[in-house]
Symmetry: C4
Subunit: 230 residues, 4 copies
Amino acid sequence: MTADSRLIRWERRTELPLALASLAFLAGYAVHVLATGLPDTWRDLSLSVLFAAWALFAVDYAVRWRLSGQGPRFVRQHWLDTLVVLLPLLRPLRIVRLYEAVLRRRGEPRLSLHARVIVYAGVSTLLLGFAGALAVYDQERGAPGTEMHTFGDAVWWACSTLSTVGYGDVTPVTPMGRFIAVGLMACGLALLGAVTGSFSSWLIQIFSGEDERAGAPGTGAGDGTGPPES
Amino acid sequence: MTADSRLIRWERRTELPLALASLAFLAGYAVHVLATGLPDTWRDLSLSVLFAAWALFAVDYAVRWRLSGQGPRFVRQHWLDTLVVLLPLLRPLRIVRLYEAVLRRRGEPRLSLHARVIVYAGVSTLLLGFAGALAVYDQERGAPGTEMHTFGDAVWWACSTLSTVGYGDVTPVTPMGRFIAVGLMACGLALLGAVTGSFSSWLIQIFSGEDERAGAPGTGAGDGTGPPES
Amino acid sequence: MTADSRLIRWERRTELPLALASLAFLAGYAVHVLATGLPDTWRDLSLSVLFAAWALFAVDYAVRWRLSGQGPRFVRQHWLDTLVVLLPLLRPLRIVRLYEAVLRRRGEPRLSLHARVIVYAGVSTLLLGFAGALAVYDQERGAPGTEMHTFGDAVWWACSTLSTVGYGDVTPVTPMGRFIAVGLMACGLALLGAVTGSFSSWLIQIFSGEDERAGAPGTGAGDGTGPPES
Amino acid sequence: MTADSRLIRWERRTELPLALASLAFLAGYAVHVLATGLPDTWRDLSLSVLFAAWALFAVDYAVRWRLSGQGPRFVRQHWLDTLVVLLPLLRPLRIVRLYEAVLRRRGEPRLSLHARVIVYAGVSTLLLGFAGALAVYDQERGAPGTEMHTFGDAVWWACSTLSTVGYGDVTPVTPMGRFIAVGLMACGLALLGAVTGSFSSWLIQIFSGEDERAGAPGTGAGDGTGPPES
């Protein structure tokens, strides 16, 4: 219990700095990839930011492992964290936690579960799509036969992939670019699952609500299961 | 409560005029985009219709804000309305409310929830797809390297996008066209979620019905959860 | 009630003949579209079969309307039947009813709901995909700039559309072909919804089963909610 | 009952050898397809491995049929097994059973249902995608007009098909390749259904949990329905 509470305190304290480090990592990577015209000093600086943020993530992972007192099981149980330390481009995902923390602090009611799932899925998709577009653009730029001439093309490709539309007017041609693309496809599937699952459970919730109201009239008012205000 | 009831009365009274204004807005935009051969008078007229409808939406928004007595919170709580005032092409969405109102007035039983969700999703998709095709066609027409030569091509592209099929034989090439396209992709995801979620919750409802019937035989007749008549 | 029972008796008696007529219609249409090398006698014969089947559908529709004693409401309540009379290519869909009837007569237990939904969706998709491929091939064949050279191409296109994959290597280019294609896309969405919804409700059913078993151990055996045998 | 228990004992004993035979089959097929530069001895060897594994599957099927004491009904009830004997490339699917068996033996708690579904779907997709890419590459290689020049292209195509993205930059052009591709599309649909269904039922489960907690506060802690650790 004490270990748990110390872990929770650590997570609460490091939440904001780590979220900022995530954004710094993403920004550093974006500068590194996109700012090809900048002098070398800038690119070196962006690289330092990148590695500094990475180091922070590793330190955080190590401290949390220590505090959990779990041994090797920690690696498997927190596989998403492990993955994030290895592939820090996935790190921005954790920013969604910050959003929740901000909501909590301002004393507002937490969003309903469905809205939360949609917001999480949306923000994660936005960040992962941006990171994926950067990574793929970094690989594809200058490859022979590529249609991905500008970063705009890469973003357009990422959008059509994440929505599983897949026009195919712009596609990665390098092995590494395609490897990253497969990861984005998996994200697209998950996004679809989140959107669909939310809809489905929202409908089911309304139904149960209606059934209960039919059974016991006059109790269903203000239960917050109605369609969202528009 | 009084504010609420006044708000409801306002919404009921403005329902029909605003729905007509929505259609007028869409028609005006369609004329503006498609009728390139018409004399300038017609295009000016369609523009006036456009702005008049827009003004109506803004007035309605202001009155409802006032009646709600909510202050700045209103903007966030009615974010869909706010968005619609900023991007009136999304306005036709509200016509689905009219459909419900018509049903209610004619004293007919309201459609079952699943049918309603499907009808809403269908009508919204139709209207948004039409508006999206118009907006993208407006951007793409005459762009170098585009495959979108006629408005028919734009509609075909919109359909393949909304169903997340995404052939890619016709795709937007301008930055603005692609930006709108990303919005349509999001609509496609939502449509998929609505269709899938309805199916899912319909099946679950039938199941619970069957379980109850198995437990208490003879009570399940005429509960309206069976498959739709064909 | 008497009207109802006579309607049911009529439907039971006409089930098999109408299903055969559906297959005859589809076969006649296939011969009409594909057998371009046959002498005119054959094409005339296939046309006669087509119209004879169509006439049968119309007669069945009229009789059922009469027996229902419903007046104009019948048209809207049985909108799928109405649509089928207007667009008989959708008629083969009703064959899924025959399948159920056969199962019932042989005294076998009816398939579980999920299996039934999957089988229905599969058979409907197969028949509609075949009909859609025929109709689109009929439109596209010989159109300038088409990639749909053989009926095999049309079937391949229909498959990639129904699964919402949408490669885009073969796409319709004529307005009519694209119109039919949009219908197939809608079928693809519905198929996706059926598959997803079945999975979802199957998982939920297992869950409730597990919860009940945890609460009252020893009662859950043999409830038929386990994963399908393999 | 005795037949059942003998069947179960047989299945438990043959689990590991058959899983290894499945991998041997897949490996043999991969060598047969990809190792075109190897001397004939190697290719003959891989073919022998292929047929030996196939024979094992057939023997296992026959023994299980015998032990079940079911007669012809067995073929239909175990249709997936029947299909696997006819199309052994689908056999690797059964390896997901091994994974579960391993978990059980090590005395660990079984994964939650949702995690299990996701893992099953993921592993099945991986294996089927690999087998499908091999089979399609075998057909397409050297076909006139194909874009599938390397096995990497085939894997890339399989990924874009299984996620229902469908870029269409690489597509099969031979009839047999397209036939296999349709099978992969169906797998993609099922994968989508599994992911979406898991999300959906997970959300619904959380909801019921929250409802119960609201009704009887203080009972909901540690019920394991919270979001997965990250």
